[in-house]
Amino acid sequence: MQNELKKIRKYFSEDAVRLGIIAVFLIVMPFVSPYFLKTKNIMNILQNISLQGITAIGMTMVIITGSGGIDISVGGVLALSVWVAALMMKSGVSWVLAVAVAILIAAFCGMVNAFSVGIMKIPPMIATLAMMYMTRGLQTVISHGSTLNGLPEQFQYIGQGMVFGAIPIPAILIVLLYIVAAWFMNKTVTGRNIYAIGGNPEAARVAGIKNNHVIFFCYIACSVLAAIAGLIFIARMDSAPATVANNLEMKAIMGAVIGGTSVTFGGKGKMMGTFLGVVIVGLISNALDLMGVSAYYQQFIQGALVLVVVFLEAVRTRREARRS
């Protein structure tokens, strides 16, 4: 029993900073706005973070692979694949087929990224930078800077539907995907291999792990998850603006980093952490909205918050290292 308690405490100590910040919001915000704790508002927050939250799942995986792993092409890949899907739907193709095509395009982009990183040994930042411009470029060609509206009703349901009359589908999807991702990272062989190659690629290779298989898996998963996030987003908005998912890569990285994923060393990071990180970002913008703070200030405050969390994390890890 005591052992169990210890385990639980150890588990939460890793997320202490994040849980602390969320607790502050939960305690303070109800005084600022009585609306804050209403089910509707909480659902609203989950719905709003679904775009960057689902993207951050793949981003976390890619960052954990280490060796500078990062994917800044997620915004571009998302934009290209959802625009192709939206155009197909507008021209009367079945929405199921359109969704499948979007996911295939994303998977292809992810495969190219993995090829550059794993086989050509291009630094991930550069490889995915090229992919970001290629995909954004193609999307600009097909979108001409316009916005598409009027998507099929059934497709819109993915983004706008409600379960039990109160829970929006995107909110369910983001929670569900995080549970699956956490399970995947902890329980499957591939999940463990991701931590192994990130923690020490040489040890992994010696242990007979095929590092490149893992890299392909992660980059493809990252692109596909971005596309899924994008499809949910355009379904919710019933609109695919030309600027869809601008700066998404930075928001996803921010979620992962606030979540405790290490961009310096691989092999360190957890889905639970990233989820809390994304929730914190969502809580801030929600709180600022409720307080009536202009959107112009929000970016600055979010940026400052990243710094605060990262500082606190650094202090916590240094303390932990000293203790052992």
Partner: protein
């Protein structure tokens, strides 16, 4: 064919760019034995092991495993032959648990093919218990001590059912208690029928643990011993030869009243070195020798302020330096040549001119803020010539020079700040014989001009030839101070190993 031989390396010859490093070397490992491989620096033992590991490919010779000839093309091939290597630099994933590291890539899965954390942990515990190791299988490897990480690496080979385990200098970072545990583990591995190749400089450890010993000297077999029938002296003679070393140089003479430049008093950094006391006078050359892990590099770095230390005093010209920092040390006329030339010694793409003036760039300023190019050129030209750097000109980039000439540029960089105390860590590693003797000449000249020189080195000849006295380090403590003139290489080898 002897059924008992599991690894048979026959007539292995190896050369690097025409330089023969192994000449028809034979090495046989019997089933269930601990076979030590010994030799001085450069004798060829690590080359032989790298051939077995598939990192190098021999010019000629054959390798048989279980009587079958094999062709090991890359390290990835070794697992299928039941070979496992534990390298000196440990390959662990620090953010994973002990159990996960032991079963890395060999994940224990449940019926559905999912990773089974509980079973992994239980199996790891079983193995740890069987080996008499008390480490929590669920602890993160980050929280372990080096010795424990090494145990994990050794046990990892058992989870892969290796038949032959190669241990490269496994005892160099262990204290006495840890070493005892290590010997127990090796014994238990033997009982399980694992054959072990043990590479070590530590004579006592080799004597204690080995069933047989093979000694290499200058790339040839130079001795084979069986447990119980040899002494420490036999091993030393086999490694070093009988020849007495006569130095061509005169022994450094220091004036008795020469001021003390550096004094360390009870200088201590937990786990790295303890209670180091030493003194060096103006114009003296003092050596500090010891095996890898004895604490040489750590002391040099701590004195220069690159790493922190826990207690004790650094006295520079009799003045206590409370918190040494590289910039403060340079200001106080101290220079350090670091061990890692490529990483810390020079900026590869910059020219010789820029590298030589790197640490004194402030002094190269002209009347305004800008650097006086002419002054810089003259300075670098003068030093490069003094050092006899072979170059097309001082504008050549340092990365394009040979190892020996790179090292001369780095020494020129250090000397151009006119140090009164010059610390050198492994100053001639990877430097050819000719450049070596030139470097020694330069250091002697500097000493004659009054610089105190402290050489940290594992090359015994280097210390015997150049130093007045040699401080012997063992496991982070001074175990003796000897006069170089009264020593032979064999004596010194006996003292450090």
């Amino acid at each position: 064919m002897d059924q008992n031989i599991i690894v048979n390396m026959k007539d292995i010859t190896m050369s690097f760019s025409g330089n023969k490093v192994l000449k028809s070397v034979n090495f046989q490992l019997r089933r269930g034995e601990v076979h030590s491989l010994m030799g001085a620096n450069g004798a060829g033992k690590s080359t032989l092991v790298k051939i077995l590991n598939g990192i190098y490919h021999p010019v000629s010779g054959t390798i048989e495993i279980d009587g079958t000839p094999v062709n090991i093309k890359s390290p990835g091939d070794t697992e299928q032959y039941g070979l496992a290597f534990v390298h000196q630099e440990l390959n662990v994933c620090i953010d994973m648990t002990v159990a996960e590291n032991m079963y890395l890539g060999n994940w224990i899965t449940d019926k559905r093919g999912l990773y089974d954390r509980k079973a992994t942990s239980a199996k790891a515990k079983e193995l740890l218990d069987m080996m008499g190791v008390s480490i929590d299988p669920d602890a993160k490897v980050r929280s372990l001590r080096t010795a424990e990480k090494q145990v994990i690496e050794i046990l990892k080979t058992l989870t892969k059912d290796a038949k032959v385990v190669v241990l490269d200098e496994p005892t160099s970072s262990l204290n006495e208690k840890e070493k005892e545990n290590f010997f127990l583990i090796v014994d238990k591995m033997k009982q399980r029928g694992v054959s072990i190749i043990f590479i070590s400089h530590f004579l006592e450890d080799v004597i204690q643990i080995s069933d047989r010993v093979t000694v290499l000297k200058d790339g040839v077999n130079n001795g084979a011993f069986t447990a119980g029938s040899f002494t420490k002296d036999d091993l030393i003679t086999a490694m070093m030869g009988r020849k007495l070393e006569n130095s061509d140089y005169e022994v450094i003479q220091v004036k008795e009243d020469a001021p003390v430049v550096l004094e360390l008093k009870d200088f201590t950094s937990a786990k790295k070195f303890q209670n180091i006391n030493l003194q060096i006078q103006e114009g003296d050359i003092v050596g500090v020798c010891g095996l890898l892990g004895a604490g040489k590099t750590e002391i040099a770095r701590a004195v220069f302020g690159l790493d922190s230390y826990d207690s004790g005093d650094i006295l520079l010209f009799g003045k206590r330096m409370a918190k040494p920092r590289p910039d403060k040390m340079i200001e106080n006329k101290v220079a350090l040549l670091t061990e890692e030339r490529k990483l810390e010694g020079f900026v590869p793409l910059l020219s010789i001119r820029e590298n030589i003036t790197l640490s004194i760039i402030e002094r190269m300023r002209g009347k305004g803020r800008a650097i006086d190019r002419k002054k810089q050129q003259e300075h670098s030209q003068r030093f490069a010539e003094q050092m006899k750097v072979k170059m097309s000109g001082i504008e050549q980039s340092v990365v394009s020079l040979s190892g020996g000439n790179q090292q001369k540029v780095v020494i020129a960089k250090c000397l151009s700040s006119e140090p009164r105390l010059f610390l050198l860590d492994e100053p001639t590693r990877g430097v050819d014989v000719y450049a070596k003797s030139e470097i020694y000449k330069i250091l002697r000249n500097a000493a004659e001009a009054g610089t105190a020189i402290l050489i940290f080195s594992s090359e015994l000849e280097e210390l015997l030839e150049n130093c007045s006295k040699i401080i012997i380090l063992k496991k982070g403590s001074v175990s003796g101070i000897v006069n170089a003139a009264e020593m032979t290489k064999n004596d010194l080898m006996g003292l450090i190993g």
